[in-house]
Amino acid sequence: MRNEALHFALRNRKLVVGTVVIAVFLVAGVVGPMTIGHKPADYVGPAMAPPSGEFWFGTTTFGQDVFAQFLYGLRSTFLVGVLGGVLASVVGMVVGFVAGYRGGWVDELLTMVTNIVLVLPALVVLLIVNAYLGVRSVGVQALFIGLTSWPWAARAIRAQTFSLRSRDFVDLARLSGVRTPRIILREIAPNMSSYLFLTFILLFGSAILIAASLDFIGLGPTDSVSLGLMLNNAARWSALQLGMWWWFVPPGAGITAIVGALYVMNVGLDEVFNPKLREM
């Protein structure tokens, strides 16, 4: 069964392409900054220089190296994605599992909490966080994204749990005297592991997009570079109008590529895990 999944995984073009793209960006984001001698905010070159051998992505209005910013930005973008995605997945899973498994008023209550978070504009939460911490960082941003973007995941997991809960092996585990948390963790969750993984991927992608939106309206991290912040800066300094497409295009294209690759991966994985979708 495992090998079978692997077999299909290697043959699934979507999955392979998606994974390769993510891997390339990931490596660029993790290793890239180490190969660059300067900080992303340093004024290292001539102002507004188009891409060249020295500055691959050109320079900003101030003569900062766009490529360096891009690499550092990738790093924080991945960080936001992973942290935010993990946090949202964890919260979504806990809420979804508990609501779906316990049912009754627990379900009712958790559904309500889910709805509240669903309708609360995410911006508000950032405001609080900002208020308490004064300075926003990538971590804080990820934290709040994680804390606000889980509702749909919770709902989906709840529905899945609901249908799994009535499966006999769950009852059997209960008959074996296993306690609820353990049943959820050891019986139900493994059964939807591929689903959970897909959920995580989607949350990962959406965390990146949300972060980009926040960065763009000026609620981004105040202490580091991210792709969204680059976009924000490029827009504020009218990069496109001034002909500096090399400043404006890469961050957006980077985000699109990463998130797009994640989505493609998601579909690919779906096809791998779900025998019905496999192409023979």
């Binding site: 069964m1 499966r167 006999d168 092996f169 009852d171 059997l172 585990a173 209960r174 008959l175 074996s176 005297g177 296993v178 019986e187 493994p190 059964n191 592991s193």
Partner: protein, 321 residues
């Protein structure tokens, strides 16, 4: 040992949860040590619900279920309860978590109930249990559920119950999935277990199988008991028209349905409950027509009873399930 007393169960159903559905109402019977009680009745008559209530997987809406005189819902320690009472469900495939190896069901038991037993010792016990259900341990251990046949899985579940040295087994339609030859193997196994003193609540809708293994039979209809008593009595001398119609519908080898006496004959039966003497109505709604053989009213006086029986049959052909 196990005693149900006026047990009922109400579900809330309908689009907006507005309707109440009484799946089981006022059911009472006992299962003694080393006794097989089969619970028969058409689909939806509440058989599984009773089984689940006994297993504490569903809460009881009314009445009490007692084990050795102790209300099971008052037993705080579920684990203790499950050490004595276990269940095997209808669908062996869904009883195994498809992502794990099948023998995980044994590991789970060990973890929860026998944490102190050594690995070697445990393996021996498992192998013994498997052999007692006539499975070759080498053949089934370490395999994934989808690599095993339904019959094998089913027997592993029984072996699992056996490992615990339980006193009562709830076997809910454990054979409907199997083909004829595997069925027999499983049934024989149950019979052997009974011989070792295990009480079994055998849920089925296949009457010939119920007849094959059980000591006593409870016929359920719409959540109520229609008839119950020692199996030979219930099958040999069915007093309730419903039981008769069920029996008539059983496909038999060598006898075609068309060869059976016409259904009309059934309809003329008097209502056994009302025929019976007042003092024999020892249980609510049930009259004791013979030693331990109880029958419920088939629906009022003799005529009414007949009419009802007729209607039921007509309904049967019109609308099943």
């Amino acid at each position: 040992m196990l005693k149900l007393d006026g047990v009922s169960k109400v579900y809330r159903v309908g689009a907006f949860g507005g309707r109440a559905l009484t799946a089981v109402s006022g059911v009472g019977f006992e299962v003694g040590e080393g006794e097989v009680v089969s619970l028969i009745g058409e689909s939806g008559s509440g058989k599984s619900t009773i089984g689940r209530m006994v297993l504490r997987l569903t809460r009881v809406s009314g009445g009490t279920i007692t084990l050795d005189g102790k209300d099971i819902s008052s037993i705080r320690d579920r684990k203790e309860y499950y050490r004595q009472v276990q269940g095997v469900f209808q669908d062996p495939f869904s009883c195994f978590n498809p992502v794990f190896r099948a023998d995980r069901v044994f590991a789970m038991i060990k973890e929860q109930y026998f944490p102190g037993v050594g690995a070697r010792e445990w393996r021996k016990r498992v192998e013994d249990a498997l052999e007692s259900v006539r499975l070759d341990p080498g053949n089934v251990l370490g395999k994934y559920p989808h690599q095993l046949s339904g019959g094998q899985l089913q027997r592993m579940l029984i072996a699992r119950a056996v490992l615990l040295d339980i006193r009562l087994l709830v076997a809910d339609e454990i054979i409907s999935m199997l083909d004829a030859s595997t069925r027999i193997d499983v049934l024989n196994l149950l019979a052997d277990l009974r011989a070792r003193g295990l009480g079994i609540l055998f849920v089925t809708h296949d009457l010939s199988l119920g007849n094959y293994v059980s000591d006593r039979t409870v016929v359920l209809r719409d959540g109520k008991i229609a008839e119950m008593g020692p199996t030979p009595l219930v099958f040999g001398d069915p007093r309730h028209p419903y039981t008769r119609s069920l029996l008539a519908a059983v496909p038999r080898l060598h006898t075609k349905w068309t060869d059976l006496p016409a259904a009309e004959a059934v309809d003329d039966l008097p209502c056994a409950y009302h025929e019976a003497a007042q003092e024999s109505r020892t249980r609510p709604g049930l009259a004791e027509v013979a030693d331990g053989h109880f029958v419920a009213c088939s629906g009022g006086g003799k005529a009414a009873g007949a009419a009802l029986a007729k209607k039921t049959l007509a309904k049967k052909t019109k609308e099943t399930a």
